[in-house]
Amino acid sequence: MTMEATIARSAAEIARDVNARTTSAAEVTAATLAHAEAVEGEVGSYLTLLRDVAESHARHVDERVRNGAHLPLAGVPIAVKDNMCLENTRTTCGSKILEHWIAPYTATAVARMLEAGAVPIGKANCDEFAMGSSCENSALGVTRNPYDLTCVPGGSSGGSAAAVAAYEAAIGLGSDTGGSIREPGAFCNLIGFKPTYGRISRYGLIAFASSLDQIGPLTRTVEDAAFAYDAMAGYDVMDATSIDRPVEPAASGLREDLSGLRIGLVREFDTKVLGEESDALYRNAYRDLERLGAELVEVSLPTADYGLATYYLIAPAECSSNLARFDGVRYGLRVEGEDVRSMYDKTRAAGFGPEVKRRILIGTHALSSGYYDAYYVRAQKARTLIARDFAAAFAGCDLIACPAASCPAFEFNAKSDPYSMYLMDYYTIPMSLAGLPALSVPCGWVMPEGASRPMPIGLQLAAPLFAERLLLGAAHAYERATNHALAHKPELAGVRA
């Protein structure tokens, strides 16, 4: 088997072959590592490549398979976003403050992936503490979009997305707070799936905004997303916000058509503002949904427009508190000072990047006495209204379809003003505030102005709470019928060969 044939297989195919022992986890791992080393110079998906760890896990998987175990993700190479702990490996959050921190334990979601047979290839780059929509906020490295190396991969899970798009892993683990899985998924021609809040344990995920953070997979196929979800979802005693309710397996619910489904198009989300080309692609996508048997209905989310403002109060408020522990006292970077107070100040001044500082400041202000009611409390009320809007909308439809991001992947430094970057997540934030499961699935290619290559855009599908099985099932039908993902391949030396 050629290297490309080895690494370009989907996770489902790899697991099938490793379980059937027509290939081994060791072989898949070796090929993936070799390929990653070849393309990392161009793409830069990983902050840390875990060669020894990966080889040792692969050997262990092969041994378990030899002993008769059937592992749902046997030998599947995965990229782990570097805000998730993996015991004895560097876990940086893309920040100078944790640049040399070695995690002393493993995140539940990662542990469950490994238990299912996955092999960790590396810790993937991300926006610092998962704050950003381009991966440009990483303090530790640059990750490029495998489809156009002059463009960003999206963020904040940009490293995980780029790794999967560049065949450096079959599944990328990302975390989505306001769109950080769905947006890089759209930018990198992938399925980016954020499950219901609380469905996958956050234990070991270094918190950005606790009430919004959710781990999810980035994959090349919907089936792989379902496999990853089935491996990770479920109650965890270590996370008080994880939900103690049985998980409906998603992999067995994949459908081929959408008959009997009502899909809501949001009246307030006008795709004309996205430009002619994108507008046409989204209209086309909606027609495809209809062609597959869905009934399209109009729904309304009157408060969705407040999503951005609401999010940029709640998320920074929580982040200002969550990031307080990075103070130089117990671990991570320490810059000495004359006393404890100046040590804190110097450490945090040197350790955090501008976007993190900006959000800590906003959050500290929003929570301070005198402003708490005006900002934080009002934002929480707005959040409740947004969730109610969704509940009302879902009374009239089974799923909602809309764009995943405000534009395709853009060139580095194209959005230097923070607000224009925040606008990237306009379509994903409302679902995050409501805790809903949502994903992005490739829905076409556009030629951005001045670009030399076509770039992918994503369709977002959102479902009611806990309707992951329905959501992935429908996305699978759409994916199979349209095959947009296969129209172009990434422009990489290793892949072109």
Binding site: W101, A209, A240, F326, D327, Y372
Partner: protein
């Protein structure tokens, strides 16, 4: 001259006795090698998450119920944000506006036996911080120290904060309140409440005002008191300082003051102008708490007898002295033993005499608790009955008790087997009297010459001759008659 009245409120922090810490699975035990009882959660490691300890929640609800507090259906945890080196996350998980219990009152009593009460504002649950040791400065203070050592064994231990209304009016009241609080927590089994181990820590808010005024004066908060004795001294000293200041035309500054045990004075620590903005907000890692009514009812039904109720029973119903009642209330196993004895003997006074007297003395000598001794409550009740029925005299009773302590068993059986029953037959005693008088002619002569104080000696000899069995009153009477 203006008369002043003190107004005192007390805030208590009590470490709860639970198997594990508040939000993780680490053992909750005092001491140990520094940083050995820790995990990613209580160390606030990146990515670690808290999971509430149900035992701690139950402890607080039971405590609230014991004081007659209201238990709201909904409660939640909030974050109190401030930077401190021994606080792992740089925020403390606490409760802000929805505590687990609201209101209630603590009944306490003074040495004269009077019962008083002080209302509670609230009881809430939070996590303890770690402990800093400042080194290199000589006096253990942070100023001037060259480095600090951090021990996080205590970090994450469940902490109950019990806030009183400002309804106490003297240092003595404050201490009696604290003693009653402490007794109740012990009775509930929710804490060891050891001040020397830091499992009970308290701060006092003190203000004074002209007597009769209904407006509160400016208060100061006193910290660093490490015994009830120092609480009493600190409050007394602070009241005196404030009165002297006001009487001299001065003004009280709202501030935090430390208590200096050696100098016996309070000193300014920091003023309220430097007070933190804690930026409280609901902890997004923890879902709101819902306390089921059935649980509250079940816990209410299973509460032990409260110390002040027992105090009333012991003093009013049983007629025990304040001192004896307090002693019993402060020793749970002894009190249980006492109650069992009373249940059988139906004689609280004699039961208290034996339990707090001879048995406690033996317990002190041998280091074995009364409740763990070989003296069966039924046997002690028998002994009391033998004394009350004048079957044996108190001297024999004491001897028997010593032998029962060593495992001699039933006193009735001993008395029968060894013929120790008191002799009340005048003829028999008369024989002993005659013997004694005959053998002590000189003493008899002395008596007749007016030295009446030798009577005791002669009666003693009669008792001795009877091997202690003679009825002492009868012996006394007969000796007197014969000498007349």
């Amino acid at each position: 001259m203006t008369q002043y009245e003190a107004v005192i409120g007390v805030e208590c922090h009590v470490e709860l006795k639970t198997q594990t810490k508040m939000f993780c699975g680490c053992l909750n035990e005092f001491g140990g090698e520094p940083n050995t009882k820790t995990c990613p959660v209580c160390l606030g490691m990146p990515g670690a998450l808290p999971v509430p300890n149900e035992q701690a929640l139950t402890h607080i609800v039971r405590t609230g119920l014991a004081f007659g507090a209201e238990i709201p259906v909904f409660s939640k945890f909030d974050r109190k944000n401030y930077f401190y080196p021994d606080m792992p996350k740089d925020y403390q998980i606490s409760q802000y506006d929805m505590p687990l219990t609201v209101g209630g009152e603590v009944m306490y009593w003074l040495d004269d036996g009077s019962l008083k009460s002080c209302r509670l504002t609230r009881i809430h649950l939070e996590e303890d911080t770690g402990k800093s040791t400042h080194a290199g400065s000589g006096d253990g203070r942070i100023a001037g120290s060259s480095y600090s050592l951090l021990d996080f064994n205590r970090a994450g231990v469940p902490l109950m904060e019990c806030v009183s209304e400002p309804e106490l009016h003297s240092a003595r009241d404050a201490v009696a309140y604290l003693e009653s609080l402490r007794r109740t927590l012990l009775a509930l089994g929710v804490s060891d409440v050891k001040m020397e181990e830091g499992s009970l820590r308290c701060d006092a808010n003190v203000s004074v005002r002209p007597a009769g005024s209904d407006r509160l004066g400016t208060k100061t908060e006193i910290k660093n008191m490490n015994s009830f004795r120092s609480v009493e001294r600190a409050i007394e000293s602070e009241i005196a300082r404030q009165i002297a200041l006001l009487a001299g035309g001065g003004r009280i500054v709202q501030e935090t003051r430390g208590w200096d045990e050696l100098k016996g004075v309070t000193h300014s620590m920091r003023s309220k102008e430097e007070a933190h903005d804690y930026r409280y907000f609901p902890d997004p890692d923890l879902v709101p708490l819902e306390i089921p009514r059935e649980l509250v009812d079940r816990l209410q039904a299973a509460l032990p007898a409260m110390p002040w109720r027992r105090f009333e029973r012991y003093t009013k119903e049983y007629g025990l002295a304040v001192n004896a009642a307090t002693q019993l209330i402060d020793n749970l196993s002894l009190a249980q033993y006492f109650d069992d004895v009373v249940a059988r003997s139906r004689n609280p006074q004699q039961s208290s005499n034996f339990v707090l007297g001879e048995l406690s003395r033996l317990a002190n000598e041998t280091g074995v608790a009364v409740a763990d001794s070989k003296v069966d409550v039924g046997h002690l009740a028998e002994l009391i009955e033998l004394v009350e029925g004048k079957k044996i005299n108190s001297k024999i009773a004491k001897d028997l008790l010593v032998r029962m302590w060593d495992g001699a068993g039933s006193p009735t059986a001993l008395v029968e087997r060894e013929g120790l029953a008191q002799t009340s037959d005048p003829a028999a005693i008369e024989r002993f009297v005659d013997e004694v008088l005959a053998a002590n002619e000189k003493v008899v002569a002395d008596y007749k010459a007016g030295k009446t104080n030798v009577l005791g000696f002669l009666v003693g000899q009669v008792m001795k001759a009877s091997r202690g069995k003679a009825d002492p009153a009868l012996a006394n009477e007969l000796v007197k008659t014969k000498l007349a």
